[in-house]
């Protein structure tokens, strides 16, 4: 789902993946999620983990909304002192992944069927019990959801997902934000960016 955002005045709702580098300190995640809650922004998914730099963590957050909402979300994130940089990576060519662990009811006579599905979806069986198997599967959201639908008839016991993580493709650094913020044309109304490191 590596769609790039179309240009234009953007009144439509779109799915945006924001990637925020934050200082790796206690309370930063609480601050970020509290900001979303108190400003009434709906989060679809949020994942957090350390980066290659132990001082920084990356929060990947997916929000649904129009350009105006996204602009506010991004600016409010950037305003948090411990947020180092925010990047709307859904504007670029990026790779996103979600990891799921799922326990499926598996009577022994149906195990082969499940195994075949797992292979088609390039998952792995990571645990086998008397009446159930645990499968690990990663990929884009659509694939994960398709797999969940496919195994639903067998019976799903439990399921856990990491939420989406994402990175921009290639070796070039992330494009700095300086997009138009606007009523009229982008050229008429670009905000002098707040987002330069």
């Amino acid at each position: 789902m590596g769609q790039t955002m179309s240009n234009g005045n953007g009144s439509g709702r779109k799915r945006h993946v924001l990637s925020a580098l934050v200082q790796n300190q206690p309370g930063v995640l609480a601050h970020v999620s509290g900001m979303f809650a108190s400003r009434g922004f709906n989060i679809e998914s949020l994942a957090v983990g350390e980066t290659e730099d132990p001082h920084l963590s990356r929060i990947t957050v997916t929000v649904n909304g129009d350009d105006k909402l996204l602009e506010q979300v991004r600016k409010q994130l950037e305003k948090i002192v411990t947020v180092v940089r925010v990047h709307d990576i859904s504007r670029e060519d990026f790779v996103e992944r979600d990891l799921m662990l799922i326990k499926i009811d598996a009577a022994s006579e149906r195990l082969a069927e499940i195994k075949a599905l797992v292979d088609i979806y390039r998952g792995r069986i990571v645990d086998v019990g008397a009446e159930q198997v645990m499968v690990e599967i990663s990929g884009q959201e659509t694939k994960i959801e398709a797999f969940v639908d496919a195994v639903r008839p067998f019976g799903i016991r439990e399921l856990a997902r990491t939420g989406r993580i994402a990175l921009v493709r290639g070796s070039r650094p992330s494009r700095e934000e300086s997009e138009g913020e606007t009523v009229g044309s982008a050229a008429e109304a670009a905000v002098v960016g707040h987002s330069h490191l």
Binding site: G27, K75, V81, G193
Partner: protein, 588 residues
């Protein structure tokens, strides 16, 4: 204590975390702070006694009084105001002030004691997770976890509080950290703020766009807000307005940016602003929005606000731009930096027709009030005070009708002489804020315009005024009611009195059945209360007493409470009801 001072600063023996904190405050130019002690902040207070020749510690009578005083200090001086409280209830009493300072962009350093590190999270006595509580209402916050971080944290806190869009910063200091010895504290430590950036100077093409828009405009207006005061741009704003000839409407927090009697001043905008300023905004084809956030009290219904005009929005906070109202030309910059860049380039436009139109509005709808002789009109008191004080004063207020009358009827000549709780609208702000301003300027005439509802909310600070010799004056516009709520009851709830009478509940006024006259005996007895606190006070109820009483108050060397009885039937006008438009303006 001077011998101890010399020891702590001239030798290299270890200092406690509390000493490092106080030394850091001194290094950042703090000369006064407002601090109420308690168990978890005692080491910091002990340290303050070792620095008492350099820092004045004022003891408020409630932590909320302390932080409102710090806000008064900050707004009057432009420097961060510092407040200190103990853990738990002491710290929580700062919460309203922190939210207030966040909304009105005031630089505040709030230092709270915290339970010792090893008991954090155990529900210890007077433990509250202050950082958790305060995330959304501070610009930034710290829980000090190592005494060695103290100097860096204080440095960062001052930097964050006072740069960019100013705001409150909380430093929560566990008691064991206050007592930890630090060898060779380094006060010149580098800051670690990779995510904190200030906007760059406005780009030349943005300035060209703004200039072109001004040139093309037939009916421009400046919408001048608190950012002009905060960035110290009043001088530059006056130059900009005078050079171009563009009229200026001010928000509540923008008052003082240009003198009220300047020929280009349209006075206050918004809900209780002048009719002509609101008409002008409505008709304008270009809105120069400087240091403003398109607050609902200014805009009313957003979709109708300034809808005929192009908007140039200059603000230091990127998140304010396009938040409520989209900008055609968006300039994320310090207002002063922007004005300094454009002022050499702007030219006067030919706006004679526009000025003529505005003058016609001024003439048809001037600010007025009933000239009654049988009662003291609140507007009259402010008018007379303005005449007597001639711009040489600092004014604070509570929240409500008296606040709006003060904003409408006082003639300000300078920025930072008007200190009011605008965004949060915190009652009880006036008296402590006046104490803070007075502490900064001991010789200034500092007057709190208050209402009888607001005043009672922090009336204990009269003790601070007396004990700390802070000669603040209080003009109490006493109508025995919560006047602004009464006004809304009258306008929107068929005058049904719902807990808005401040006297005993068995009085007929409590259910809106009074005769409407002022009672012979008012409640409470503010003169007796003031005297109980050691404060000079006088009550007046006749118009003929006003000027004499004001003169007496101004001349009095100590703190003074002037209790002025005013009719509760009076409404603040004009008024654009909440969420409505200039077409709905109520003029009488």
């Amino acid at each position: 204590m001077s011998t101890i001072d010399q020891q702590t600063t001239t030798t290299r023996k270890p200092l406690t975390g509390a000493d490092v904190l106080v030394e850091s405050l001194v290094l950042h130019g703090v000369d006064v702070l407002f601090a109420y002690p308690g168990g978890a902040s005692m080491p910091m207070h002990q340290a303050l006694t070792r620095y008492r020749d350099r820092v004045r510690t004022i003891l408020p009578r409630h932590e909320q009084g302390g932080i409102f005083a710090a806000e008064g200090y900050a707004r009057a001086t432009g420097k961060p105001g510092v407040v200190m409280a103990t853990s738990g209830p002491g710290a929580l009493n700062l919460v309203t002030g922190l939210a207030d300072a966040k909304m009105d962009s005031l630089p505040i350093i709030a230092i709270t004691g915290q339970v010792p590190t090893h008991v954090i999270g155990t529900d210890a006595f007077q433990e509250t997770p202050m950082v958790e509580v305060c995330r959304a209402i501070t610009k930034h916050h710290y829980l000090v976890q190592n005494a060695r971080d103290m100097a860096r944290i204080v440095k960062e806190a001052f930097h964050i509080a006072s740069t960019g869009r100013p705001g409150p910063v909380l430093i929560d200091v566990p008691k064991d950290i206050q007592n930890t010895l630090v060898n060779d504290p380094d006060y010149d430590v580098p800051m670690d703020l990779p995510g904190y950036r200030l906007p760059p100077a406005p780009a030349p093409e943005k300035i060209r766009e703004a200039l072109a828009a001004i040139k093309a405009s037939q009916k421009p207006i400046i919408y001048c807000g608190g950012g002009v005061v905060a960035s110290g741009a009043a001088e530059e704003l006056r130059e900009f307005a005078s050079k171009t000839g563009i009229p200026v409407g001010m928000t509540l927090q923008g008052l003082g940016s240009i003198p009220n009697d300047h020929y280009l001043s349209l006075n206050m905008l918004g809900m209780h602003g002048t009719v002509y300023s609101n008409y002008a905004i409505n008709e304008a084809d270009l809105l120069l929005a400087f240091g403003v956030r398109f607050d609902d009290r200014v805009t009313g219904k957003l979709s109708e606000f300034a809808k005929h005009g192009k908007i140039i929005h200059v603000d230091i906070d990127a998140s304010e731009i396009n938040k409520n109202k989209p900008a055609h030309i968006a300039i994320n910059s310090d207002v002063r930096t922007f004005l300094k860049a454009v002022n050499p380039l702007v030219e006067a436009g030919d706006w004679r027709a526009w000025h003529k139109q505005i003058d016609a509005w001024r003439a048809s709808d001037p600010m007025t009030y009933d000239q009654r002789d049988d009662a003291i009109m609140p507007q009259y008191v402010l008018d007379q005070f303005s005449n007597l004080a001639q711009g040489e004063f600092i004014m604070t207020t509570g929240v409500g009708q008296h606040q709006m009358w003060a904003a409408q009827w006082t003639k300000f000549t300078k920025p930072r002489t008007w200190i009011t709780s605008g965004g949060l609208g915190s009652m009880g702000f006036g008296l402590p804020a006046a104490l803070g301003a007075q502490a900064a300027f001991p010789d200034a005439l500092v007057v709190d315009i208050d209402g009888d509802g607001s005043f009672v909310m922090n009336i204990q600070e009269l003790a601070t005024a007396h004990c700390e010799s802070l000669p603040v004056k209080v003009i109490l516009l006493n109508n025995q009611h919560l006047g602004m709520v009464v006004q809304w009851e009258d306008r929107f709830y068929a005058s049904n009195r719902a807990h808005t009478y401040l006297g005993p509940v068995d009085h007929p006024e409590a259910i809106g059945q009074g005769e409407g006259d002022l009672p012979d005996v008012t409640y409470p007895d503010f003169v007796a209360i003031s005297k109980g606190f050691g404060i000079q006070a006088r009550q007046i109820r006749k118009k003929s007493e006003v000027i004499d009483a004001l003169k007496e108050m101004i001349a009095y060397p100590g703190p003074y409470v002037l209790d002025v009885l005013v009719p509760y039937q009076e409404h603040v006008l004009p008024m654009i009801p909440a969420g409505m438009t200039v077409k709905d303006i109520i003029k009488s």
